[in-house]
């Protein structure tokens, strides 16, 4: 491999980066060198070309001009060697703009590349084509982007989304066309594309909020699964969206006084529910709630930018009492990198300016460490100051005391300002702070003293009469202190409050008058004011001094001072010529007018007007392209615009967007679909098909899940009532009918290329829908318990898929509410309870008739058969003392009076095993003897079969993933029927009507807890292999049944 510095040897040293003293010869050497590179590029050997390209890239990387090589490089754009090609692309992206005419030579290669069967090549061709920034090819780019936005590979579509802003920046006139493409891509459901297209939307047409309506819910639900960078783009877009579409959740809060907030904040957090009913006027829009809900988990992202994006969303959009949840996550970010820390602190500082309560519990996290860089320290101080309140001021001040001793003087100065701000904000501690600050006046460091003086001056203004001793103390400092700002402050103080220090003031004036000439301008101005004020109040003592100072000032170099001097002179001692006198009379009033105490403001004030987390916020000024976050609208815009209607033509697309944001589920379903994609792009084994259908069904059922999903609040928000859903279903089937003609062609396509499969799901899903109807009906023959509805289907349904769908909808609604149990094939296998030898002639066997228990629906029915093998009558057989494990319940069988020798008697009883396999021990009593017997139930008998639709099955299966799933390959003997009987032999389950012949599903639920037990067997053509999957809430049952079935199937 060529090293970065290799050229030095190759090029005779002329190529050194700026370090070479002989860089004057650079050009000569370069020309020679370029010839050499050109030769290498012209040769046929890839290795040489690669070598040359690497060196050229090295030149680009160092920022040196390699544009002279353009013709030689561009020839290789069609190189077969992929690495050469890539490097040529890199070169083109850099230089095409400068050599537009020559760059055109390469266009045809890219156009060819766009038709390549390999999606990687298509994508990279589009990338380069859109990156070369040659205005002439705008139409070509437009076409290519359009084509690629329809590409079947999501990766290519993603690239197309990336290309949109590139084209837009090249030619803004294309905006309308580009918006069309964005609109189309917004329809895309792939997480891969979602982030990129939103980013393009933000760049090109952030004002077209109307485009988002239809995709709003989809984007919310996809949010968790999009990549980190996409999440950021979507979050910032949705923040803007929410600000235009929802009402201000804090509108009714406005009455609450900001200052009181910290007290109430905690109460609010704890008693949110109580708080709610108090403000009945505002009810949050469901979609608004959905946004907050679906973005909340992202606070746990590892990516600081994502956390920040969620935080700003909450800050700008959520009700005030909910903002507190972001605090923890933001504080966590403070542990991150230095740069992250700085930006996050800036944002926290802005947040704390408004709502203190949010960060109150994390006060200590803002303590300054000795290793923090100065700008971080200052930000931390700012936050601490903002957080200060009556309750915590004591700890904060103690902490500040430590900081004041720091060696970092800039930091100390900021600390002093912070103390002053605390003092003004919290009146209780003003005196304490002031005392502390005064003690700092004796600090050895002048900067500290100066800063203290400045802030003390500000503090004194609030209540000067009580602090004349401090003023005196400060007057003494004038002699020593050199920092101009501090001197100026002291002088101002003395002038303003000379009545408290009547003796000292003229003396101070005398001292400063002596040094007037050598003072800084700012001090001179204050000396002038001091003189004027004293002249007005203490005319006798200071007249001469004042005149002297004014005289000096008159010839000062600075015109401000000259100007001020003239003004003061005329104000206080008007010359006879212009003695109008009217102003002069008011001189005292003018000079000693009561001045309002300055408000000590945060240096970061004003920053909070910008959107949190934005660049503008960071630089505290409007950055290029910053868009002010709009205010909430006064009137709620039409919320129904987000409802997705179901136009026939695109029903395939839309039913997806109706899907509810059950995040957990979507996560899993994505896994499923990912396996789909993997299998389709990878080897085409026979399993891929079944995988497909699995995941498709999965996404289907998401739509039905809303009736009983865990987020009942959200499902309420669904404006599509169930009947409508049914009609939608109906429509979809209609559609499927119409598209069933395409079926054959689409399946052909599917075979022809493996990649095309990704595009097809829409169609193939529809096809499967049709298939489902058929199979459903046909399969009924061997499905034991036909219900009334399905039998009607049988007679008429085949001809009328529409009706069938309708009916299925009904049955689905039923099954969703309660899954009915059905009888199943009873096993005849019997187990011995009591051997006749031990039983003294009486023997007992039991079996599981698998009928629902008549005593209690949680019990398992056990049939007992007593046989009297002896020769005496056995009398009074009953159940005796039972040794019950916790939770077991038994319903005794009816006692048997007597059994004649040779006769037998059948009884049944019910046992509630609590879904465990713990054995039931009990005493079997006869008139004469007691026998200890026990019944151990096979796991398979703990289950009751249930009827379930395939949709529901897949839905339930989706819920039972992870630990509740056992999956594995098994060896299968026999055909599907044999498999069925084998499974039902072991487990008391019912078969689920399936649309796929090779997938056999069984459903049952445990008798006690009603947990679903779902068994899926996917047979494959090859070598009696099958995939067995058992899902059950009860992990033990799950694994035991898995094992048992596996053994049984292999036998």
């Amino acid at each position: 491999m060529t090293s970065y510095n290799d050229e030095r040897s190759g090029g005779g040293g002329g190529d050194d980066r700026g370090q070479d003293p002989s860089s004057g010869t650079l050009f000569n050497v370069n020309y020679r060198k370029h010839d050499d590179l050109k030769q290498m590029l012209d040769q046929n050997k890839d290795a040489l070309k690669l070598e040359a390209m690497k060196r050229i890239i090295g030149m680009i990387a160092k920022g040196r001009n390699a544009s002279g090589l353009f013709p030689a490089v561009v020839k290789n754009v069609a190189s077969k060697n992929i690495e050469v090609k890539k490097l040529v692309y890199v070169y083109l992206e850099r230089y095409a703009e400068e050599q537009q005419d020559l760059a055109l030579l390469s266009i045809s290669t890219f156009q060819r590349g766009l038709k390549d069967p390999n999606q990687l090549i298509r994508a990279s061709a589009l990338r380069v084509l859109s990156s070369i920034r040659v205005p002439i090819i705008v139409p070509i780019m437009m076409l290519s982007i359009k084509d690629c936005s329809n590409d079947m590979s999501p990766f290519v579509r993603k690239t197309a989304a990336h290309a949109i802003p590139k084209l837009y920046s090249l030619d803004p006139d294309q905006k309308e066309n580009l918006i069309e493409i964005i609109e189309k891509l917004l329809n895309d459901r792939t997480t891969l594309v979602a982030g990129s297209v939103v980013m393009a939307f933000q760049e090109v047409c952030p004002e077209r909020i109307d485009l988002v309506h239809r995709h709003y819910r989809k984007l919310c639900s996809l949010l968790v699964d999009v990549d980190e960078w996409g999440q950021i783009a979507i979050l910032s877009m949705l923040t803007r969206y929410a600000r235009t579409q929802f009402l201000d959740p804090n509108k009714n809060d406005d009455g609450i006084d900001e200052k009181d907030r910290p007290f109430y904040e905690e109460d609010e957090q704890s008693s949110e529910e109580e708080e709610k009913p108090k403000k009945p006027t505002y009810i949050m829009d469901h979609d608004h709630r959905l946004l907050l809900k679906s973005s909340k988990p992202l606070l746990q992202s590892r990516n600081a930018a994502v956390v920040m994006a969620v935080s700003q969303l909450y800050y700008h959009v959520a009700p005030r009492n909910e903002v507190s949840i972001v605090a923890k996550a933001l504080v966590r970010l403070l542990r991150g990198r230095r740069e992250v820390q700085a930006i996050v602190l800036q944002n926290i500082a802005s947040m704390t300016l408004k709502g203190k309560g949010v960060f109150d519990p994390f006060l200590k996290s803002f303590y300054v460490r000795s290793t923090d860089p100065t700008h971080v320290r200052i930000l931390k101080l700012e936050v601490l100051t903002n957080l200060a309140s009556e309750t915590n001021i004591a700890i904060i001040l103690r902490e500040f005391q430590t900081y004041v001793r720091s060696a970092d003087k800039q930091f100390v100065a900021h600390t002093i300002q912070a103390i002053a701000r605390c003092a003004t904000n919290i009146t209780e501690v003003t005196d304490t702070c002031l005392a502390g600050l005064v003690s700092l006046l004796s600090n050895r460091d002048e900067a500290v003293v100066a800063e203290s003086v400045v802030v003390i001056k500000k503090l004194l203004q609030m209540n000067p009469s009580q602090h004349s001793d401090i003023i005196k103390h400060m007057a003494k400092l004038v002699d020593n202190i050199q920092v101009p700002m501090a001197r100026a402050s002291i002088l101002w103080l003395i002038g303003e409050y000379s009545e408290f220090v009547p003796k000292i003031a003229p003396d101070v004036l005398r001292k400063v008058a002596k040094t007037f000439v050598s003072q800084e301008n700012i001090v001179k101005l204050q000396i002038l004011s001091l003189a004027a004020k004293l002249y007005v109040t203490n005319h006798k003592q200071t007249k001469l001094l004042t005149q002297y100072i004014l005289q000096l000032a008159k010839y000062d170099q600075n015109y401000d001072i000259r100007d001020r001097a003239r003004f003061i002179r005329h104000l206080i001692m008007p010359s006879q010529a212009v003695a109008t006198g009217s102003i002069h009379k008011h001189a005292k009033k003018i000079l000693l007018a009561p001045k309002p105490a300055p408000v000590l403001e945060s240096p970061f004030k004003g920053r909070d007007t910008f959107q949190l987390g934005s660049l503008s916020h960071a630089i505290s000024g409007e950055a290029a392209g910053y868009q002010r976050l709009p205010d909430f609208p006064e009137e709620q815009p039409d919320p129904t615009c987000r409802n997705v209607e179901v136009p026939k033509a695109t029903s395939g697309e839309n039913k997806k967007s109706l899907r509810k944001p059950n995040k957990k589920k979507s996560f899993y379903s994505d896994e499923e679909s990912s396996s789909e994609e993997e299998s389709s792009s990878g080897s085409e084994d026979s399993e891929s098909d079944s995988d497909d259908s699995d995941s498709d069904d999965e996404s289907d059922e998401g739509r039905t899940s809303d009736t009983e999903g865990p987020d009942s609040r959200i499902s309420e928000s669904d404006s599509v009532p169930p009947p409508k859903r049914k009609t939608e279903r109906l429509k979809r089937v209609e559609e499927s009918e119409s598209s069933s003609e395409d079926e054959s062609s689409s399946s052909e396509e599917e075979e022809s290329s493996s990649e095309s499969e990704e595009e097809i799901p829409k169609k193939s899903k529809v096809r499967r829908k049709v298939g489902k109807q058929e199979v459903n009906l046909l399969d009924l023959d061997d499905f034991a318990p036909p219900t009334l509805t399905t039998s009607t289907n049988q007679s008429t349904g085949i001809m009328m898929p529409v009706l069938a769908a309708d009916l299925q909808g009904i049955s689905l609604a039923d099954s969703a509410s309660d899954v009915t149990s059905v009888g199943a094939t009873p096993t005849m296998e019997t187990f011995e309870l009591l051997h006749r030898v031990t039983g003294g002639g009486l023997s007992a066997v039991y079996r599981y008739p698998r009928s629902p228990c008549i005593y209690d629906d949680r019990m398992v029915t056990i049939a007992l058969e007593f046989t009297n093998n002896g020769d005496a009558i056995v009398e009074d057989i009953r159940m005796g003392e039972k040794n019950l494990q916790s939770g077991l319940r038994v319903h005794d069988f009816t006692p048997i009076d007597k059994i004649e020798p040779g006769a037998s008697h059948n009884v049944t009883f019910g046992v509630d095993f609590c879904d465990t396999t713990q054995p039931l021990h009990f005493k079997l009593c006869t008139a004469k003897r007691n026998f200890n017997v026990s019944i151990k139930i096979p796991v398979g008998e703990l289950v009751l079969p249930i009827v379930m639709s395939q949709d529901n099955f897949v839905k339930q299966q989706g819920k039972l993933a992870g630990m509740n799933e056992n999956r594995g390959k098994v060896v299968v003997q026999g055909e599907a029927k044999a498999i069925c009987s084998k499974v039902t032999e072991i487990v008391n389950v019912a078969r689920v009507p399936s649309t796929q012949e090779h997938v056999i599903r069984f459903a049952g639920k445990t008798s006690h807890g009603g947990s679903f037990l779902l068994i899926t067997i996917e047979t494959s053509t090859e070598q009696r292999q099958a995939q067995l999957c058992v899902n059950c809430d009860k992990m033990v049952i799950c694994s035991i049944i898995f094992k048992q079935i596996k053994e049984k199937l292999a036998s």
Binding site: I57, S236, R337, R369, L615, G625, R967
Partner: protein, 416 residues
């Protein structure tokens, strides 16, 4: 978004640049150098710098500056996170991120930058995908490449890019399937001069090395998950499972990664495993210096690698100390005193004491040095967090599992 990227070394030389849009002149970095000169230390450069037409967002890592040029409004954290991700990727590829390694691998670096950003917007950032696109360099491969003329660039699209598990590639195979988890906890604390704890909290992270074949689905559960106050996850972890069951359920990326980091709140009491007594006085031209350190609440574990460092005031000319254990080092230029104590055994606590000589003629320093403490305790998680079990689903083999606990000092400071 990111318009250009400049890499700057500690001598303020721009040694590499990359432009994703129209090239921007190097001279833009002058604004950055200006800010650099103003700052007292490299750490102190503000992350965002405004110039008349552009904005510079920079990070400082591994003694290099990465300066990105921005033209339009963007979330600064977005850029900062991304720059760090670039550095992480370099470290992942070249084991280190230095000027040397970047220059040596400039072609790979360029290819990486090309793949990671398209038009300034992140494209592929997951290391698993990148590694499929561009093979990391190693000696063997570079030999093979020179001999056969093959390249580092993969010919086909990585499967992960297309799937919804972008962090994991398919078809992973290992002979020995193993999964190791390192639970590292760092104690952040500020202890004031009187020895009372001003602030203490625990920052933990779980780093994993997972080498498992196929598509395993792992469940990691804790004995006491309620301890964890605030958790951030690798994207592979399912949020909902954590929220509902407090179980980390995930399909792991291949290789090593940070599974999650957590925070054990400052509200709960954190037991500080060591105590430090100090006595530092200045008088005239000298001063007394004494530090005693000893273990406390270590739950029977040994404190290792104990190191105490102090940044002495600039008036300190030299120190003359005598440690009872370990040795010390004083850098008279940086005024940095480091006492390397090593292991603390039971028995007599280590002490260092002696004299400090001060520059004469200048006032006695007012501030006392803050002590930074570093230590390590093996096989202990100071928060008491324990892994309950690790279950694997989706694959049939039995993986080898291991969990290691370690407690370290984080930002542990003692004010004197």
């Amino acid at each position: 978004m990111i318009h250009s990227l400049f890499m700057v070394n500690s001598h303020h030389d721009i040694f590499m640049e990359k432009h994703w849009k129209t090239a921007i002149k190097k001279s833009i970095c002058d604004y950055f150098f200006e800010a650099l000169e103003k700052a007292s230390s490299p750490e102190d450069v503000p992350p965002v710098i405004t110039t008349p037409h552009h904005y510079l967002i920079s990070i400082y890592r591994e003694r290099l500056y990465f300066v990105s040029v921005i033209t339009k409004e963007v979330q600064p954290l977005f850029v900062i996170e991304f720059l760090h991700r670039i550095v992480d990727t370099f470290i992942d590829y070249f084991d280190e991120c230095s000027e040397r390694s970047i220059k040596d691998n400039y072609v790979v670096v360029y290819e990486l930058l090309e793949e990671m950003l398209d038009n300034g917007y992140p494209l592929a950032t997951e290391s698993n995908i990148l590694k499929e696109l561009i093979k990391p360099p190693n000696i063997l491969r570079s030999v093979v490449n020179t001999v056969t003329g093959q390249s580092n660039i993969a010919d086909r699209l990585p499967t992960g890019q297309l799937s919804n598990i972008p962090w994991r590639r398919t078809g992973v195979k290992y002979a020995a399937n193993e999964a190791y988890f390192d639970i590292t906890e760092e104690v952040d604390a500020i202890i004031d001069r009187s020895g009372s704890v001003v602030f203490a909290e625990i920052q933990g992270s779980i780093d994993a090395v997972v080498k498992l074949s196929g598509m395993p689905d792992l469940n990691l559960s804790f004995v006491n998950p309620r301890l964890l106050d605030d958790v951030s996850f690798h994207p592979c972890v399912r949020y909902k499972r954590w929220e509902s069951e407090r179980v980390l359920s995930f399909v792991p990326p291949d290789g090593s990664f940070k599974l999650c980091s957590y925070h054990v709140g400052s509200q709960g009491m954190v037991s500080i495993p060591i105590y430090i007594r100090h006595n530092i006085h200045y008088a005239g031209s000298g001063g007394k210096f004494e530090i005693t350190v000893g273990p406390r609440h270590t739950m029977g574990k040994v404190i290792e690698d104990l190191k105490i460092s102090a940044s002495m005031p600039k008036q300190v000319l030299n120190v003359n100390l005598l440690p009872t254990q370990g040795d010390y080092n004083f850098n008279p230029v940086e005024k940095e005193l480091v006492w390397d104590v090593g292991k603390i055994m039971a028995g007599k606590p280590p002490v260092i004491r002696g004299m400090v000589s001060l520059q004469s003629g200048v006032p006695v320093p007012e501030e006392k040095p803050t002590l930074s403490v570093q230590f390590k305790i093996q096989q202990l998680s100071i928060s008491g967090l324990r892994v309950n079990r690790l279950d694997m689903y989706g694959e049939k083999y039995k993986p080898f599992k291991g969990v290691k606990y370690i407690t370290k000092a984080g930002k542990f400071q003692v004010r004197t």
